[in-house]
Structure formats: C-alpha cells, structure tokens
C-alpha cells in the first residue's frame, strides 16, 4: 500500500499541481517579470529595468496616499471587527432565548456580496447625509467611516461564528473551577476565555488584516476612490494604474509586486507574533 502510494503519488497530484501552476505560479512569475517591462498588452513587452518601481512613487503621490489610507483603515477595522465579533460571541454563548436567531441575523450580511453591500451602504449613507445637504463624495472621511461600518457589518458575523465555536470548546470544568475559586467575570474572561480562544484570535486577526489590505469591491461600490483619490485603497490604485493610464501598465505591475510583498510580510509577522503568545498561553 505504502509503496503504491509512493508510486502513483506524482500522477494523482498532477492535476492539482497543474491547476496551481496555471492559476497561480505562472501568472505570479509572469507578473513579476512584467513589473520590469513596458507594455500595452501583456503578450508584447520590452524590458526597462527598475524604472517602473521609481515611477510608482515619483509620478504622483496617490500610491503613498492610498497606502496610508489602507493602513489606517486596516488598523481601525481589525480592532472594531474583532471587538464586535468577540462581544457578540460572548453574549450569544450564554443560555439566553433566541440565541440561534440572533446568530443567524448577525451572520447574514456575510452572505451578501461586496458590490451589493457597497451599493446598499452607499444609498443608506447618502440618505442620511442628504438631510445635511451632503453626500458621501463630499469629504473623504465619510467614505472612510462608511467603509469601516460596511466591513464591520459584513465581517463581524463571520468572525463571531469562529469565536463562538472556540468559546464553546472551552472545557466546562475550568470555568466551574474558576467560579468556585471566586473569580469574577473579568478574571474569567482574561485568564481563561481569552487564552483558550487564542488560536481563533490568530485566525480572525489574520483574516481581517488581509481582508482589509486586499479590499476592492466594497471600496469600488461605495465611493470608487472619490473624491480626488481620497478614499482610494491600494488594490484600487493598482487596478486604476494598470487599466486607466496608458503607458502605466508596468507601473501598475510594480505596485502590485510591492503590494504582495508588504501584505505577505505583515501577515507573516502577525502570524509569528500571535503564534508565540499561543504557545506561552
């Protein structure tokens, strides 16, 4: 048996490997090469060296501007989403009536696609702002907080489900022992519940962090980066550079490479950090 697995392994792994290569490896390497080239269509490129990377920062300041915007947004949304999700999870793991209904309701927005959610919130926010004679395009801060609200609405339910699963897995006897020892609610939370759900916190932080960085469709539907690139996030800046500016395809590609490296780095650091805490816990 062992032998035949070794014998046939390559063959049966082949379709998966081919898919992986076609859908990921080849485009990735190709994209990396293209970031050093000038081209109009990706099949017809000429090598230009590092100029694309220089132009990404020198021609206009929108890339750095959207970088800062994305960073701010990610920090705020990671904190708020996880706070909300964890609070909901705590509340909905007590034996109160209607728990299942509430869990369903809070999870529901996650089933709606980003573009649709973006439009829905665009209408809601414009409706509210119209009372003041304003509009979501009037000021970038409306777009920023709109995005934060939207992402909380969409993702808090999903993260909540992960936290609920983790909280329900905490051995009941630990909680009972704590209660007998006279631990109050806060001590129970910080000494037992949070350390026990640390793996879930890692997952949720990781998911919200990368979601925040890679956000595109919600951004597009809500404000499309307006006014004056004030709410443009990294992914949208890259897309716009590549598709809306003639002669900037390579620059867009260079930005995409920088983007990939940054996101990968942040995710790795964050993973390492929470892993360490998990082990000591």
């Amino acid at each position: 048996m062992e032998k035949s697995i070794r014998k046939w392994f390559a063959l049966f792994a082949l379709p998966g490997l081919v898919c992986f290569a076609v859908a990921f490896l080849v485009p990735f390497v190709w994209g990396f090469i293209l970031s050093f080239c000038e081209f109009t269509t990706i099949t017809n490129a000429s090598f230009t060296g590092f100029s694309n990377y220089v132009r990404a920062f020198t021609v206009d300041s929108y890339f750095t501007q959207s970088f800062v915007f994305t960073l701010l947004f990610t920090v705020v949304s990671v904190i708020t989403i996880n706070l909300f999700a964890f609070t909901f999870a705590l509340l909905l793991t007590r034996n109160v009536p209607g728990t299942n209904a509430f869990r369903t309701i809070i999870f529901m927005p996650n089933l709606i696609g980003g573009i649709v959610l973006g439009w829905i919130w665009n209408v809601i926010i414009n409706g509210v702002l119209a009372a003041f004679g304003l509009n979501i395009m009037s000021d970038p801060k409306f777009g920023f907080w709109g995005l934060v609200i939207l992402m909380n609405w969409q993702n808090a339910g999903y993260m909540m489900v992960i936290y609920i699963a983790a909280i329900q897995n905490i051995p009941q006897d630990e909680l009972e022992a704590a209660a007998i020892d006279g631990a109050n609610g806060w001590t129970t939370l910080t000494r037992i519940i949070i350390p026990s759900v640390m793996p879930s916190i890692t997952i949720c932080l990781f998911l919200t962090l990368t979601n925040g960085f890679k956000l595109y469709d919600q951004n597009l539907a809500l404000t499309a980066g307006q006014p004056n690139h004030g709410t443009e996030m990294l992914a949208m800046n890259i897309f716009n550079t590549f598709y809306s500016r003639m002669g900037f395809e390579g620059v867009g590609q260079a930005k995409a490479v920088i983007f990939t490296i940054v996101v990968a780095l942040i995710a790795l650091i964050q993973l390492r950090f929470t892993r360490d805490r998990e082990e000591t816990a």
């Binding site: 046939w8 063959l11 082949l14 379709p15 081919v18 109009t40 269509t41 990706i42 099949t43 017809n44 021609v59 206009d60 665009n122 414009n126 702002l129 119209a130 003041f132 004679g133 304003l134 509009n135 979501i136 395009m137 009037s138 000021d139 404000t223 499309a224 980066g225 307006q226 006014p227 004056n228 690139h229 598709y243 809306s244 500016r245 003639m246 002669g247």
Partner: protein
C-alpha cells in the same frame, strides 16, 4: 480489479486534461467581433444589427459593449485574447497613438472612399488608420415649453422674448437667474439639471464643457480655429487662459441647479437626463446622443418640437457668432492582428452598415448617427429632435461651430485629475485658483509622459 480502476482513472485524467486546457467555446471562423463604445445603443446592435447582418451576408457578427467610461480598460483586456475584437474604436489622435500597433491601414477599403471629407480620417505616415463614423454636437439642451412659459411672465427681468434671442453669457445669466427666482411659477426645481459628478459621470464637464476654453486658447495660439486641435495635440503646456470664462458658466450651472451642491457627487448623467425628461428643469448640457435618454424615459413630459440647443456661452469675446460644439470622437479601427478572414469580413460589415439600404436604415433610424459618409443623402439623417437640431446648427451660416478640441487632451489621467478638482471645488475643499493650477500642472506632467 484495482488495476482496472487505476487504468480507468488515468484514462479519465488524460481525457479531461486537454478538455480543461481548451476551455471556453470555440467561436465561428471569420467572426466579426465589434467592441462598441456607446452603451446607449447597445441593444440596437444586439437585437437588430446582428441578426440583420447575419441574414444578409451569412457572416457571424458579435457586438460587445463596454460599460460607460470603461472602453479603454475593456479594450485592453479583450485585445490580448485569442479571439480579439476585429473592429475597435479610438477617440482621436491621442487614442490612435496608443493603439497604432494594432490598427490596420484602411486607405484601400470601400468605407474610406465613402467619406465625404477624406481629411476627417486619422492618418499617419501616409496610411489611414481610423475612420470617423458619426458626427455629434452638444450644447445646452433646453425645453422650449418652459422657456416660453418664462418669457410670458409679466414680471420677467429681461427684455428679450424668446430663448432663440439668447446669444451671449450675459443674457443667458440674466435669464437663468431670473428663472430661478420664478422657479415655483414655472413648476421647475431648478433651471439646470444636476451637475453630475458621480464616478464615471463627470465627462460632460471635464471634457465637453472644458472643450470651449480649450478650443479658444489654442485658436488664439495657432491663430486659426481649424488648427486648434493640432495645436492642442502638440502642446507641452496649457495656460487655461479662459479659466474665468469656464468658471462663469460652471458657477451658473451649480447655483441654479435642481440639486444642492452637496448632493452632486452622487448624481450620474442618467439622473440629469431624467430630470430634464420629467420637466423638473429647463436646461441640461449634453449632446444629440442623449436623445434616447429623453424620449425613452417613462413619464417624459418634453415634446419633440420643444427640444432645442443653445451654444455654451461663457463670456468669450465675439461669442454671438459661436455655434454649438460639433465634431467626433468616434473613429473605427480594424485590428491588424485579427485573422485576415475576420479583417476582410469587418470591412464588409462596415460597407454593409454604411452603404446598403438596410444598413443605412438602421444607422439613421435606430442607431441615430449623423454620418460623415457620402452614401447618405440629405433625407437620410436621423429624425430625432436633437440630431435635427445639430444639422440645423451646422447649416446655420451666421454662426461657426466650435470644433471638438478635447481629443488633444494629453491623457485620460488629465481628465480624471481635472474632474476630481472640479468635484473638490463643489465640495468647497479647493479654491478656483487651485483648480486652474491642477489643470496646468497635470497637463504639463501628462504631456511630458505622452512624449510631447
């Protein structure tokens, strides 16, 4: 048993792999794939032109329409496919410069010889690469019924008595401001439709309205109106000499609008056209392509005979002799990388569309193009009220049409920058001097990037 199973599985894999690799459906040989620019008439192409052409010639035709303001990105991704568009569109010399590696020479085709003025085609190095297919005009569209109601008011503040007498910014401003004062009596919510600034909807301002000061500046610099486009196309810098005039009309639009300024960022051009069609306003800046957005709107209250054009008066010297803006940004190219058979069929399609009786009928009555081809007689022009108005204004010898000069804008990025600046001006987060500076700086940067 196990052995048979593995053999079957392997066979299955072997069979499914090439299937997977092939993907997609095979399209017919020599199919003409036309990437259409105009979303207003997308349905006419798919529902009427496609079947008619296929029936007449047996050549398969596929028309795909890019979403509003998404033509360049769509073309960019479509043209790399193994079945690329055979007919695509460029918006003028700047567009052709971007796509000339893909454009086939057209001087020997029948369509090219059908042009009434061969110099309208875009040429380079002695070859014709792009052929215009429709002439369009734009200005301020007004609803004459509301204007007549205004001029019948006993306490109107102006001395003129019909909209046709408006021939300068001064009179326009006096009329518009007085109409705003009387808007309840006139039953309108504002004189002008909303100045649409939603993403993708600001082209009426950053390109069309801007055309007038752009043309005036390069007319002065080149000394001749007909040389303005060439001068703009070659210009390394742009001074925005007539920024004050642009601001005149721009402020007039904003201050006498259906919507308060704060809401404009969420309005798109279809909203503005609907406001006009429903009689909520008296004027809207747009061109003859907008006819379907007025006549086709349910609840439309505007009679055909009441839809008329005014030129874009903004206070330029001698503007009494200025007509509406007439020109084209619609040039067709044939993709030289498509199969020779598809290219030949594409030429046949264009010839059929613009010279056969059936094709011409579709062009005039359904697509609504005022064409630059000599195969169309004077009677074979679109009958919608705006197209008729364009031909009337063109035929009016007492005024001179403003040629479309915006094809000389160095890049799409310039338009985006200027549009953003205009939105910020509306929002009050940018003063006018900064808007002007944005226009100048962005021009210098983009012109340099474009290699001028």
């Amino acid at each position: 048993m196990k052995r048979t199973l593995s053999i079957v599985l392997i066979a299955l894999l072997a069979v499914s792999l090439p299937l997977f690799a092939q993907g997609g459906k095979e399209s017919a040989e020599g199919e003409v794939y036309f990437l259409n620019f105009k979303p207003e008439i997308a349905e006419v192409y798919t529902n009427e032109v496609e079947p008619a052409f296929e029936e007449a010639t047996g050549i398969p035709l596929k028309v795909v329409t890019a979403a509003s303001n998404q033509y360049e990105p769509t073309l960019r991704s479509e043209i790399t496919k193994s079945e690329p568009p055979v007919i695509f569109q460029v918006n003028g010399p700047v567009g052709l410069a971007n796509w000339k590696d893909y454009a086939a020479p057209l001087e020997d085709t029948a369509v090219c010889s059908m042009l009434s003025d061969p110099s309208m085609a875009l040429s380079e190095d002695g070859h014709v690469y792009a052929i215009p297919y429709t002439v369009e005009g734009y200005g301020i569209i007004y609803n004459d019924a509301i204007m007549r109601a205004y001029f019948a008011l006993p306490d109107k503040a102006v001395s003129i008595s019909s909209a046709e007498e408006i021939n300068s910014f001064e009179t326009l401003k006096a009329v518009v401001e007085d109409m705003t004062a009387h808007k309840d009596e006139l039953g309108i919510q504002g004189v002008f439709a909303s100045t649409s600034m939603a993403p993708g909807s600001d082209w009426r301002w950053q390109t069309h309205l801007f055309n007038v000061p752009l043309w005036a500046e390069f007319r002065d610099k080149s000394g001749d109106s007909s040389q303005a486009l060439a001068a703009a196309f070659a210009a390394k810098t742009f001074d925005f000499t007539y920024s004050a005039e642009f601001k005149n009309l721009w402020d007039l639009y904003l201050d006498n609008s259906v919507s308060p300024k704060g809401l404009l960022g969420g309005k798109n051009d279809a909203d503005s056209m609907a406001e006009f069609a429903l009689g909520q306003c008296a004027m809207v800046q747009n061109g003859n392509w907008g006819a379907s957005q007025i006549l086709g709107v349910p609840g439309n209250t505007v009679a055909d005979s009441d839809i008329k054009f005014l030129p874009l008066y903004m206070g330029l010297e001698g503007e009494e002799g200025q007509g509406i803006c007439v020109g084209t940004e619609n040039y067709l190219c044939i993709n030289k990388n498509a199969s020779p058979e598809a290219q030949a069929n594409a030429v046949k399609f264009l010839e059929w569309l613009f010279s056969s009786a059936e094709g011409k009928d579709l062009v005039t009555n359904r697509l609504g193009f005022i064409t630059p081809f000599n195969t169309f007689s004077a009677e074979e022009q679109p009958t919608d009220p705006l197209a008729r108005q364009v031909t009337e204004w063109m035929a009016n010898t007492s005024v001179k049409s403003v040629p479309w000069t915006f094809a000389g804008i160095p890049s799409e990025q310039w338009k985006a920058d200027f549009g953003s600046a205009l939105l910020q001006y509306i929002n009050g987060s940018m003063d006018w001097d900064s808007v002007v500076k944005t226009a100048q700086d962005s021009w210098a940067r983009e012109a340099q990037l474009a290699g001028r």
